[in-house]
């Protein structure tokens, strides 16, 4: 009997135990699970499960070809940041102000985020373009960034990478499905996004807590169809 772990939320499918509440009797082999089996906790697909016991080969720290390494990037060189990046930094700093109850400052950072956001519209693109970039993040970007954070003992950076890697794996599986199924993927389901870590979940209701960052349900928002 083998065990398989969901790489998004850590749920373990144990063949010996099965999943009786989903009609999978104890002893149900991994191969015999239906193709549309999803993680009962986070609804990630079968493909993101990893067999337990086999330790994953350590990822070599691949250095990314980074087109923007000029200049002293540690010091907010604005010429190195795209409008969209400045918008994301400003909206994150606005949240930092909110946590400190600096309401006017929060509004000022939000105004800057809005300004820079309007400057960054992409043209003539499809969701398949994001899938290509996402696959690159998952194949290389996270390994390189985690290696750098580990080398420096930077727990904050590492935490951000662990969360966003899990979110990315979920997004990759959804984009793969969307490429095959198109709009049918969402015909009978709602869609929820965690407002803290960005985790996306399909289903009838938001989970009690986010499977990735563990915030409670009220931080998980439904994206309406309009």
């Amino acid at each position: 009997m083998r065990r398989f772990e969901c790489s998004v939320c850590g749920y373990i499918y144990d063949e010996a135990v099965g999943l009786p509440e989903k009609g999978l009797a104890p002893g149900t082999k991994w191969e015999d699970l239906p193709e549309d089996f999803v993680c009962p906790l986070c609804s990630a697909p079968k493909t993101v499960f990893k067999p337990l016991g086999e330790t994953a080969a350590p990822q070599p720290a691949i250095k990314r070809n980074n087109p923007v390494v000029n200049g002293d990037r540690a010091h907010g060189d604005i010429r190195d940041l795209s409008a969209g990046e400045i918008a994301a930094i400003c909206s994150s700093l606005a949240k930092g102000c909110e946590k400190q109850r600096l309401i006017e400052e929060m509004e000022a950072y939000s105004a800057l985020a809005d300004y820079f956001k309007t400057k960054g519209m992409a043209q003539g693109v499809t969701l398949a373009d994001t899938a290509v970039m996402l696959n690159e993040d998952i194949a290389k970007g996270f390994a390189a960034a985690k290696a750098a954070a580990q080398a420096d003992g930077d727990r904050g950076a590492l935490r951000s990478l662990i969360w966003s890697e899990k979110v990315s794996i979920m997004l990759q599986s959804l984009l793969d499905r969307f490429a095959n199924e198109g709009d049918d993927m969402l015909s009978n389901t709602k869609i929820f996004v965690c407002d803290i870590c960005g985790f996306i979940m399909l289903g009838g209701a938001a989970p009690e807590i986010c499977p990735v960052c563990k915030v409670p349900q009220y931080k998980i928002v439904e994206i309406e169809r309009r």
């Binding site: 604005i78 969209g84 600096l102 400052e105 519209m121 373009d129 420096d152 169809r225």
Partner: protein, 166 residues
């Protein structure tokens, strides 16, 4: 250092109202009146049975410095997430399908949350840090008529500096 009440945790109408020497905790909108609050008093923080009140520090310690490698990698990944957000937002704005729009909006939001978190950890942890101030200062060069210069000036004037910047 004024007190702040987390309304979500508050069980309402109890200890802080009795212990506060100035009535700062007794407000109609549940927001502690910082003008009445005595700095460093802490009476309500200690009395609250729900752990709902905390003191907001006036000054934050300087940010932990980030290594150049961490900055480079977080920025590269943050850039990728921002670009994916922009693509998803563009698809949401242009598609004819309500379902595709819904999915693209979810993707845009998801990517923005990741980008914010990853870029925050590239050295923009605190709104009043030296890094954030340098970014704001560089923005002052922007002379576009629609640029909210007043927002930048307000931030540079109002945000207390962390102690490393004096």
């Amino acid at each position: 250092m004024p007190a702040y009440r987390n309304v979500r945790l508050c069980g309402k109408d109890c200890m802080c109202l009795y212990v506060c020497p100035t009535g700062a905790t007794n407000t109609e909108n549940s927001i502690i009146d910082t003008a009445k609050c005595i700095p460093g008093c802490m009476a309500c923080v200690n009395a609250c049975p729900s752990g709902a009140i905390s003191m907001i520090p006036d000054e934050y310690p300087p940010q932990q410095p980030k290594s150049p490698e961490v900055v480079t990698e977080q920025r590269a990944l943050g850039r990728s997430k921002v670009q994916q957000e922009e693509i998803a937002a563009a698809v949401a704005a242009t598609t004819d399908s309500a379902v595709t729009r819904q999915f693209a909006e979810a993707l845009a939001k998801s990517n923005l949350r990741m980008a914010e978190d990853i870029l925050r950890e590239s050295g923009y942890l605190l709104p009043q840090s030296a890094e954030a101030r340098e970014l704001l200062t560089a923005m002052l060069e922007n002379t576009a008529p629609d640029f909210p210069t007043d927002a930048v000036e307000r931030l540079l004037n109002q945000l207390h500096k962390t102690p490393d910047q004096n």
